[in-house]
């Protein structure tokens, strides 16, 4: 459904952010995009809806090249792509409902949106989505009065009210605590399954990605260096993506969904340093 073909992006400063990246996403497929900071993950998904203009290559959504589109076609295509942001990117001084309805801006005219007179079906859908993400009691709260997890739920509702075909998700959990991170990831994955939505999720947290996603793409310095299932992500592969490091404890047990065992094991692994043991034995 989404076909990225030899996409290259060079910033005006001369930095090569993406070097001929090719990637295709099937309908309903959820991909986790991992890689170190500065690898080009954000740039990649921002190129897809052209918040960033790519330098070369093509991006096709249902066969139509987004890169070649004029302004009006681009607006129409952006409606089909929902985006979720790291820092939520809600309009802080607008209410929860206004933020959710802003996902409909591509479908309503200026005066309707200016007067906040959205078509009734859009309002119904907004209430339904707010119910689905568990915020139907906060409709008229201002966005800046919400907690991080609540804000990200509003962000998710805003993306979904577009009735998108694909979700572009940029570090959805980076500003959240571990428990909320899991809840938000689970919510995104569930919603994708319910609606048969494809998604590209940028994520720093490798264990979290492996826990929820069936396909992982590793990006390093603008080049794809891994594309496969979470199981194939060995220590060597992680080293290839992130560089040399001790990876023990990173690949948490995927089947253990709710407990915090991986963190436990991490601590155990961290304590289990041979040198320390030798010192202790003396």
């Amino acid at each position: 459904m989404l076909e990225i073909d030899s996409l290259t992006m060079r910033y005006p400063t001369g930095d090569l952010a993406l070097d001929s990246v090719s990637l295709s996403v099937e309908r309903g497929q959820v991909i986790a995009l991992i890689g170190p900071s500065g690898a080009g993950k954000s740039t990649l998904i921002r190129c897809v809806n052209r918040l960033v203009e790519p330098t070369a290559g093509s991006i096709r959504l249902n066969g139509q090249d987004i890169v070649a589109m004029g302004r009006n076609d681009l607006r129409r295509t952006r409606r089909k792509m929902g985006m979720i942001f790291q820092e939520y990117a809600l309009v802080e001084r607008l209410s929860v409902m206004e933020n959710v309805l802003s996902g409909q801006l591509g479908n309503v005219g200026f005066w309707r949106s200016y007067l906040r007179r959205y078509p009734q079906p859009a309002v119904d859908e907004a209430f339904r989505l707010l119910g689905r993400v568990g915020l139907d009691h906060m409709v008229d709260k201002r966005a800046d009065a919400l907690s991080g997890g609540q804000r990200q739920r509003v962000g998710i509702a805003r993306a979904l009210i577009q009735n998108p075909e694909i979700l572009l998700v940029d570090e959805p959990t980076a500003s959240l605590d571990p428990k909320t991170s899991r809840q938000i990831m689970r919510l995104i994955i569930e919603l994708c399954r319910e609606r048969g939505l494809g998604a590209i999720i940028n994520i720093h947290d490798v264990p979290l990605a492996m826990m929820f996603v069936e396909r992982i793409v590793g990006l390093r310095a603008g080049v794809i260096v891994y594309d496969g299932p979470p199981k194939g992500l060995t220590d060597d592969r992680l080293t290839e993506i992130y560089g040399e490091e001790d990876w023990s404890g990173t690949r948490g047990d995927g089947d253990d969904e709710d407990g915090d065992a991986p963190a436990h094991q991490k601590v155990a692994a961290a304590v289990d340093i041979p040198e320390l043991k030798k010192v202790a034995q003396r």
Partner: protein
Amino acid sequence: MTTLADTPAAPRRWKKPPFIADARLRYAIYAGALIYLVVAIGSVDVNWQRALAGLERGAEFVRAFLAPDFTTRWTDIRQGLLESLTMTVISTVFGIILSIPIALGAARNIAPWPIYYVCRSIIAVSRAFQEVVIAIVFVAMFGFGPFAGAMTLAFATIGFLGKLLAEDIEDIDRGQVEAIRATGASWSQQMNYAIQPQVAPRFIGLCLYRLDINFRESAVIGIVGAGGIGATLNTALSRYDYDSAAAILLCIIAVVFIAEYSSGFIRRRFL
């Protein structure tokens, strides 16, 4: 018995590095500044005799303040005040309406280069001249009276609000704009949903502030013939009619106080 390692090392001294590293240059600059100050003060030619005479007149003025005369010239004062208020409101409203598009054009993060330069130049021209200077030009163009005054104040308002609003827009959080753009929103919808909520509270505060600046300025530009309470004040002063002048000044102070307190109240409601 202490070993070498236990002995505290000689205390290392630390001082904040001076702003100008070279000591000779530093003292030369200080000395130069001091000499200039002394020479400058010496060059001011004070006519003490005249100052003493002025003191007398000042005292008269202060006495008049203690007994302001509102009644003798009340019709003039009332007309001047009304004229000033009309000028203030009209010029502020038109200034706000015109400054918004110019501010949008003068914000580097949302305007393309050519528009940016045009809008920045309009702001620069408006800010380059003090109100009195613009008033003199407009009085020459449109004749004496409040119309020239209103034009002056509207023109000055464009520069003031245009610059400050443009800077506010440049400081907004880009993420919110990106998020709205990503939904497929049009340019005008992006302005309404992502920019306006971020800058509105401060802009309302600036507009109220400009409203009371415009009232005060209307008193000043009246002196060069642009109508309003300033014209009335000028007439009273040139007739040595200090008790009426005092009444006028008290009226101006009262209006400014009212504006100050009500704008504070309105601002609190919007934040």
